[in-house]
Amino acid sequence: MAGIELERVTKRFGDVVAVDDVSLDIGDGEFMVLVGPSGCGKSTALRLVAGLEEPDEGVIRLDGEVVNDVEAKHRDLAMVFQSYALYPHMTVRRNIAFPLKPLGVDRSERDRRAAAAAAVLALEDVLDRKPAQLSGGQRQRVALARAIVREPRAFLMDEPLSNLDAKLRTETRADLVALHERLATTFVYVTHDQVEAMTMADRVAILDAGRLQQVGTPDEVYERPANLFVAGFIGSPPMNVMSATATDDGGVTVVGAALESEAGTGLPAGRPVSVGVRPEALSFGPSGIPALVDTIESHGHERLVACTLADGSAAVVRLASRAPSPKPGDPVHLSARADDVLVFDPETGDRVR
């Protein structure tokens, strides 16, 4: 097991800053998910930890030891790649046993440990096949078996589920969480899929444009996003963000309608703010923000009601499938409980309450 620490790490490729002054502590045995849109620097951050890239600035530590100048092969980490990076000329057995070769493990012991790792991932029947003879799911499991065979200090995973179909992805998510519990080793997992991040992580680190936006448990980043980017990125559909004005009683008004704010915004009255409310926290009532229903999407277990506010902005309300629902074109009023209303500074994007 290893604790991993990034301290003010920056990585540039020419003029592009891929990782910008990122500091992140990953605890021993923690399942940390780095999530963000394409090009946000999450894969580069992982490759910096792996030793496949060198930081331009900052310090990377493994178990407290600075590893900036330590080659990848000496870091004792295991990595699972998006493409799985299986050696096409080797059988599954040889692929899994390959990381044991540099350790000087003899052939019979390599085979024994490869078989044991294969058993963990239910690959016993395909040990003598080549990767081209396997399904996508099997290949992914071979890559995992190759990672666990060596009992490394930490596992690094770069979007390992993105090549699987939706059903297999859901199943493998659960398998990975179980594997993490079984191995009790640090996992650093990169994905662009916020559902993967929310369902698997002990903590989530959200990146955008190379900068770390927020680190927290899945509940924390969902309930209390640090800024408008996190509010918009985490959650599907994303948090509704509406233009509002601070009032002198610590609340806000949206399109002239008052929304209560539990602890008050602490902002001077009349100050423009952005208000964020999750779709499930909005409800229809006799009073509140006036809006017009546009469309209704039924998802079976829920319905998403898309509305347009008087100022032209949009808001989505999530309703249980059996809850009474307005029809497209109906005028409605939207309201929310005070503790569900988050207030952001529209200039910096940071949450002020």
Partner: protein
């Protein structure tokens, strides 16, 4: 239950005659499309080959005026003659000198040029340039470099206080010297083919091996070499055939000498042709047989060890 007899009935009654006519039409079309190639191959390959085999059965004067049937005896004489056996040995040595060395150096250069460094494009062009050089140009270039009195090689030796060497006129060094010029000429082709192969190997395979603790040599042995299997097999077969068919560089640099030390099979055939076309034909047929068997063995033996991308 009701569908099966209907399908079977229509199938046997109507499809078979139509399929037969269609097959006949396809056969004629195939023949028509193959005809131009068959004519070209027939005139320029199969007929000369058959004619050579046939001529090998005769004793002839240099002008082909008098001919005497001797049958397989001539082939037996060729195979057992000391001159032919010497040529065979020289050719085998020449192949051993040139093929592995060309592969090793060309692959090494390709691995170097595969690095993502500034200015590498220039090196790639330089490394590949020998492929555009003809045997004649390459041989003359090396003739000048190795020339005993004014050649660059001996000037270098003199500059470090060593005696000049006449590499091409010494029976001990002539074959290695000619082999070196051939290796130089092979490098461009080996470099281009192996570099193209290297560029198709995904970077993740190397990165995965790095993270798993493998050093540069282990990555080369366990990833690069197996992934280049098809290219290396192709080059081994082609370079071996080329080595067995070498003539131009021998003719220009050593004329088979000194003391027959560079008298490779094709040079021997050309020399014999002027005296005894029948014996030369028999030698040519034996060479054809050797190259055929060698290529077959290489394919059978090496192909099993090669991984082809699916």
């Amino acid at each position: 239950m009701t569908l099966a007899p209907t399908l079977r009935g229509t199938g046997t009654e109507s499809v078979t005659p139509t399929a037969g006519a269609s097959k006949r039409r396809d056969r004629w079309l195939a023949l028509a499309l193959l005809a131009p190639s068959l004519v070209v191959f027939g005139v320029f390959v199969f007929y000369p080959l058959g004619r050579t085999v046939w001529l090998g059965f005769f004793l002839q004067d240099p002008f082909g005026l008098r001919r005497q049937w001797v049958g397989l005896e001539q082939y037996r004489d060729v195979i057992t003659s000391s001159e032919f056996l010497n040529s065979l040995e020289v050719t085998a040595l020449f192949t051993v000198y040139t093929v592995p060395t060309s592969l090793a150096l060309g692959l090494g250069m390709a691995v170097l040029a595969h690095q993502k460094l500034r200015g590498m494009r220039l090196f790639r062009t330089i490394f590949a340039s020998t492929v555009a050089t003809s045997v004649a140009v390459a041989s003359l270039l090396w003739l000048v470099l190795l020339q005993p009195s004014v050649g660059v090689f001996n000037q270098l030796l003199e500059s470090i206080g060593r005696e000049p060497l006449d590499l091409l006129n010494d029976a001990d060094t002539a074959l290695p010297a000619v082999a070196a010029t051939t290796v130089w000429q092979n490098l461009g082709a080996v470099f281009i083919v192996t570099l193209a192969g290297l560029q198709s190997v995904p970077d993740e395979l190397y990165e995965s091996a790095r993270v798993d603790g493998h050093g540069a040599w282990s990555r080369f042995r366990n990833v690069t070499i197996p992934m280049l299997g098809p290219q290396l097999l192709f080059l081994t077969v082609v370079l071996t055939i080329n080595a067995f068919q070498s003539f131009g560089q021998i003719d220009l640099l050593t004329e088979g000498g000194p003391e027959e030390s560079t008298n490779v099979i094709v040079y021997s055939i050309v020399e014999t042709l002027a005296i005894d076309p029948g014996a030369a034909s028999a030698q040519a047929v034996v060479l054809f047989g050797i190259v055929l068997v060698l290529s077959f063995v290489q394919f059978r033996w090496l192909d099993r060890r090669v991984h082809y991308a699916s």
